[in-house]
Every structure is written in structure tokens, then in C-alpha cells.
């Protein structure tokens, strides 16, 4: 197990370098003057531009620039914006909000998705099964921003049940509806995954044994069946946490949540390269680590799986 984790960690290194390098080149090394509109209507004075190019290493080749960035990153330094604010500070302000939103979305999709999946998987072909199947199709087909707008306008503006926008504190109660919107697509996947794996495992030998032993149905389903069927769902949920944070831009935009999605979107528009690279690098790290964690969890949950 330890050797497996170590090998996976080593495999992460080239992937991490590749992904961050790609982003770095896209943000920094392509044509376009980052100081074009920094000084109002006048062109910037040469002294300013020279100083800034010096500070952001823009005169080096892109490989040297990237090397310097990576070196700083390894020491926990995400760089600073053109106006001198530490990127790590910006991220530290925005990140908890997005993490909270992603967690709310994850909990909602796990609870609703698993419940619906278990209920339909136990009775495939029934009325409820078809109803859930059709609603997952609709969840998959309707884009997130449409769901978001519709819920915002009906719940927030017409009926006044929720605030149409989320305040700066972003309490958990305010994040329920945005979390539902963010997690709606994955909820459909969780439901289908759970349904497939429950209805496949329902006929397996260990379930028959458990029933034959005279266990109550609640225990057969809740302990024996659920534990074995939850494995693909947990894999999906783990990988999804990274994807939810990266995909939160749209939801954050609609509900005016001050998370990293909004931060990175604004930074792209104002060409603040350091912030964009910082956020994307962070998301890539989270994504890769979640993938690793899921693979390790796999072996813990299912003793039949052995690495090495």
C-alpha cells in the first residue's frame, strides 16, 4: 500500500508540472501587453513598464519564468498581483467560500442521489423508477445556468423564500439553493450509478446468504448491499469535489457568491495573470490529490482490491 501511494505520488509530479506549465504559458507567454490599460488613458511611463517587467520576470524566456514561478510555489509563494496584493491572500479570502459551496453541493447530491438510487435500484421497472429515470434525464439535459436562473427568479424574486444573492458571509443556510444548482448534474449521475450498482448487486451471492441467514431486510440493504454498492458512488463523489470547485464559476456568477470562480473570472478580464495561474494551480492540485485519495480509499472500502 505504502509503495503504491508513493508510486502514484511520483506519477503526479509530471502531470502537475505539465498542467501548470500549460496554464502558465497560456496566461503569460502569449501576445498581448498586460500593461496596456494600467495607467488610465495615457500609455504607461517606460520606467514603470521596465520595473514591472523586471518584477514579473517578463524579460526571461518562458521556461526560466516558469521555473522561477515553480520555485516560489514550492515555498508557498503564489506571487502577487500587479497592484502588489499577495495572491495567496486573495485565495485565502475566496477559497473557504467555494469550498463550503462545493461541500454543500456534495452533501446534497450524495443524500438525494443515493436515496433515489437505492429506492429505484431495489424496485427496477416500477412507477417510481421511471419517474426518477426521467427526472435524471432532465437534470442532465438542462444547463446549470438555466436551473440557476429559474430557481433564483422563482424562489428568490417571485416567492421570496430565499435571498436572490448570497451575502459576503455566505452561511450554510444561504448556500443550500446554490449548492443544489451546482450539484444538480452530478446528482443525476450519482442516482444512476447507485441504481445500476444496487440492481446488479441485488442478485449476488452474499445478499442471498444474508437473506437466508434470516437477517431483516433493513440490515441486508443497509449494511451488506449498501456497503458494496457505494464504492463506485464514493469514487465519483471524490473526483467530483475537485470538478465542483472548478465548475463553480457559473453558479457563483448567478448568485453573486464571492468565491474563487468569481475571483478567477475577474482576473481573466483584467489580465491579472498571477491570480489566474495561482487559482488554477490550486484547483489542479486539489483535483489530483482527490483522485489519489479516492484510489486509496477504494482499497480500504473493498478488501478484495489489493495494490502492489
Amino acid at each position: 500500500m505504502g509503495r503504491y501511494v508513493l508510486r502514484r505520488m511520483l506519477q503526479l509530479v509530471p502531470v502537475f508540472i505539465g498542467a501548470t506549465f500549460l496554464i502558465y504559458v497560456l496566461v503569460w507567454a502569449l501576445p498581448g501587453d498586460p500593461f496596456a490599460a494600467k495607467c488610465g488613458d495615457r500609455p504607461c511611463p517606460d520606467a514603470y513598464i521596465t520595473a514591472m517587467r523586471e518584477r514579473f520576470n517578463l524579460d526571461d524566456s518562458v521556461f526560466v519564468q516558469y521555473g522561477k514561478y515553480l520555485l516560489g510555489l514550492l515555498q508557498g509563494d503564489f506571487g502577487e498581483t500587479f497592484s502588489g496584493i499577495q495572491v495567496s491572500e486573495l485565495i485565502a479570502n475566496a477559497y473557504p467560500v467555494t469550498l463550503k459551496l462545493a461541500l454543500v453541493a456534495l452533501v446534497i447530491e450524495a443524500v438525494i442521489g443515493l436515496t433515489a438510487g437505492v429506492v429505484t435500484g431495489l424496485r427496477p421497472g416500477g412507477y417510481l423508477d421511471n419517474l426518477v429515470l426521467v427526472s435524471t434525464l432532465f437534470l442532465i439535459a438542462i444547463p446549470v445556468f438555466v436551473t440557476g436562473f429559474v430557481l433564483q427568479v422563482t424562489l428568490g424574486l417571485r416567492w421570496g423564500i430565499i435571498d436572490p444573492t448570497v451575502s459576503a458571509q455566505a452561511d450554510f443556510s444561504e448556500l443550500i439553493v446554490p449548492g443544489f444548482v451546482l450539484g444538480s448534474l452530478s446528482m443525476a449521475y450519482v442516482t444512476r450509478l447507485a441504481r445500476t450498482s444496487i440492481s446488479e448487486n441485488r442478485r449476488s451471492d452474499y445478499v442471498r446468504t444474508a437473506v437466508a441467514k434470516g437477517l431483516r431486510p433493513r440490515r441486508v440493504v443497509g449494511v451488506h448491499l449498501l456497503r458494496n454498492s457505494a464504492i463506485p458512488v464514493i469514487t465519483f463523489l471524490g473526483v467530483d469535489l475537485g470538478a465542483l470547485m472548478g465548475g463553480a464559476i457559473v453558479t457563483e456568477g448567478i448568485f453573486n457568491i464571492r468565491g474563487i470562480g468569481g475571483l478567477v473570472y475577474r482576473s481573466i478580464l483584467t489580465k491579472e495573470g498571477a491570480t489566474v495561474t495561482g487559482v488554477v494551480v490550486l484547483l489542479v492540485i486539489v483535483y489530483l490529490l482527490m483522485n489519489l485519495l479516492v484510489d486509496v480509499l477504494y482499497a480500504v472500502l473493498d478488501p478484495r482490491i489489493r495494490y502492489d
Binding site: L137, A141, P143, V144, V153, Y189, R192, V250
Partner: protein, 316 residues
């Protein structure tokens, strides 16, 4: 559906088990091939029939928009700005007084073309890399898989925003920006197709017919092209059908964020993004393109579902 990468994670297509199992369960008189077996099965599925009908209607809309409306989708008249649906204009008029119905009908073409092209590129790149990685194994596999991991590690929406905002200034014209959107979506999605193809190819490589072909001295190209490809294609095609719907939704999301297609291109995403500031006063501006979008994505996802079940011998 806004994130095609999620498809691979959810893996509906990846569950398709090896095709040869299906071939053994052919009809009683003569063994049917997997494809004709699946076709036989498909023709009787209501899901398949409904989705095919929808898709045929959409394709006709895309090919001959002039048959359904005589209004010019780009002719604006400010006097009729944001007029609600009426007998003249079934879907009302938008902010610039353009006929929403005509724009929705004409928007079908761009949305479907973008989806088709993005799927084609994704499958071409992904399938080529995947079958090479699966066939050769070893360091080729290791290298290609790591490259795929790099692209897979970038979050879809975020990656697309970075790529599009970097390049969209330098490409001009409607065709340029459409190509850029298509290429960006394919560049961020091909790893999914590659992984599906790779696992199918690894399974196929162990099969007797591939060993026999190699033993008879067939060149690697011939083994891949004549023996492995036909047997590995089914799962990728299933993925492609579902991904097609996903790409149409993704195009709308990117246009909605203001970095995808833009005027004078008429697409559902562009219409939705134009409508978003007026959604409180004129919700029909959002409702009609969004409904068309949802129905299209739904049709392709349902088709993909039906095809997957038909190709999956476990489901029978």
C-alpha cells in the same frame, strides 16, 4: 450538462463490457453480429424512437431553417423591442426587436454544427491516442496516459475560459471564433475518449483473433485498422453520442459566460447570454432558446442511453 469531462468520471459509457460477449448471444438460426443484434434491439425501444424523431426534426431545422420561418434572424427593429409573444412572432421579439422564433430556428444550425465538430475531433484524437496506447503498451502507453492526465487535470470550464480569453482577440470573424470554440472543447475533452478506447484496446489485444493476426505476420497498422478498431469502436461511439449533447450544452455555457460565440453568430448560447439581463422582465427571451437547448441535449443523451443499453449484453 455543462461539463463533458464529468462524463468520463461518471463512466456510463465505460461500463460497456467487451463486445464479443454479445456476439455469442445471436439469434437462433444464424449468429447475428453485435451491430445487427443491437439494431434489432434498438428498433423496439421507445426511448430510441422518441430520441431519433427529435433528432431528425432538429436536423431538418438545422439544414433548412428557411422552411420554418420567413423572418430574417438578424433584422432588428427597435420599435418592437422586447414585445411579448404574439400572433406575428410566436416567441416575441428580443431587445433589438429581432424575431426570437426566427433566431431560435436559425440557431439550431450553429449549435448542432459546433456539437458535431467538437465530438468528431474529440473522438478522432482520443480514439487514435487510446488505441495506440492500448496496442503498444509499455512506455508509449505511459507517456500518452500522462499527457492525457495533464489535459484531464484542467477543470473544463476554467480551462476553456483561459484558452478562449487568450486567443479570442487574435482570431477574427464568425468562422474563426466558432473553430476556436470547437477546438478548445475538443482539446479539453479528448482524454475521456482516450481512456475508454485504451481500456477497450487493452482487452482486445489479449483476444485470440488479434494474436492470430499478429502470428500470421500482419503489420501493426493492419492489426489495429482491420482487427482491433472494429471491435473497440462501440464504447467510444456510445460515449460520442452522449458527448454530442454535452458539447451543445457546453457551447451554450461558454457563450453564456461571454467568451464563446458572439454576435452576429446566431446560436442558442448567444441568445441566452443576451437574454440574461432581461430575465426578470422578459422571461420568454430565456425560456425559448433554453427549451430548445434542453430538448436537443435530452434527445442526444436519450439516444446515447438507448444505444448503450443495446450494446451492453449485461442489460438484456
Amino acid at each position: 450538462m455543462t461539463d463533458p469531462q464529468a462524463l468520463g468520471v461518471a463512466g456510463p459509457a465505460a461500463e460497456v463490457s467487451h463486445p464479443t460477449e454479445g456476439a455469442r448471444r445471436g439469434g437462433p438460426d444464424r449468429p447475428r453480429s453485435l451491430a445487427s443484434d443491437a439494431w434489432h434491439d434498438l428498433r423496439r425501444r421507445p426511448l430510441f424512437l422518441v430520441s431519433m424523431t427529435l433528432i431528425v426534426v432538429l436536423l431538418v431545422l438545422a439544414a433548412f431553417p428557411g422552411l420554418f420561418t420567413s423572418a430574417d434572424p438578424n433584422a432588428g427593429l427597435l420599435a418592437r423591442s422586447r414585445q411579448p409573444p404574439s400572433a406575428q412572432a410566436w416567441f416575441g421579439y428580443d431587445l433589438l426587436g429581432r424575431d426570437v422564433y426566427a433566431r431560435t430556428v436559425y440557431g439550431t444550425r450553429v449549435s448542432i454544427i459546433v456539437g458535431l465538430l467538437a465530438t468528431t475531433f474529440t473522438v478522432l484524437i482520443g480514439a487514435t491516442m487510446g488505441i495506440l496506447a492500448g496496442f503498444y503498451g509499455g512506455w508509449v502507453d505511459g507517456m500518452l496516459s500522462r499527457v492525457a492526465d495533464v489535459f484531464f487535470g484542467l477543470p473544463f470550464v476554467l480551462g476553456a475560459i483561459v484558452v478562449l480569453s487568450t486567443f479570442r482577440e487574435s482570431v477574427g470573424g464568425a468562422a474563426g471564433i466558432t473553430t476556436l470554440v470547437v477546438l478548445t472543447m475538443s482539446a479539453l475533452s479528448w482524454p475521456v475518449a482516450m481512456r475508454i478506447m485504451r481500456s477497450a484496446a487493452i482487452a482486445a489485444r489479449q483476444q485470440d483473433y488479434v494474436r492470430a493476426a499478429r502470428g500470421l505476420g500482419a503489420s501493426p497498422f493492419r492489426v489495429i485498422w482491420r482487427h482491433m478498431l472494429p471491435n473497440c469502436l462501440a464504447p467510444v461511439l456510445v460515449y460520442a453520442t452522449i458527448a454530442l449533447g454535452a458539447f451543445i450544452g457546453a457551447e451554450a455555457t461558454l457563450s453564456f459566460l461571454g467568451i464563446g460565440l458572439r454576435d452576429p453568430v446566431v446560436s442558442w448560447g448567444v441568445m441566452i447570454s443576451e437574454a440574461r439581463d432581461y430575465i426578470r422582465v422578459s422571461p420568454y427571451l430565456l425560456a425559448f432558446p433554453a427549451a430548445f437547448l434542453a430538448v436537443t441535449v435530452l434527445a442526444f443523451v436519450m439516444l446515447g442511453d438507448a444505444v448503450r443499453e443495446a450494446f451492453d449484453p449485461k442489460g438484456r
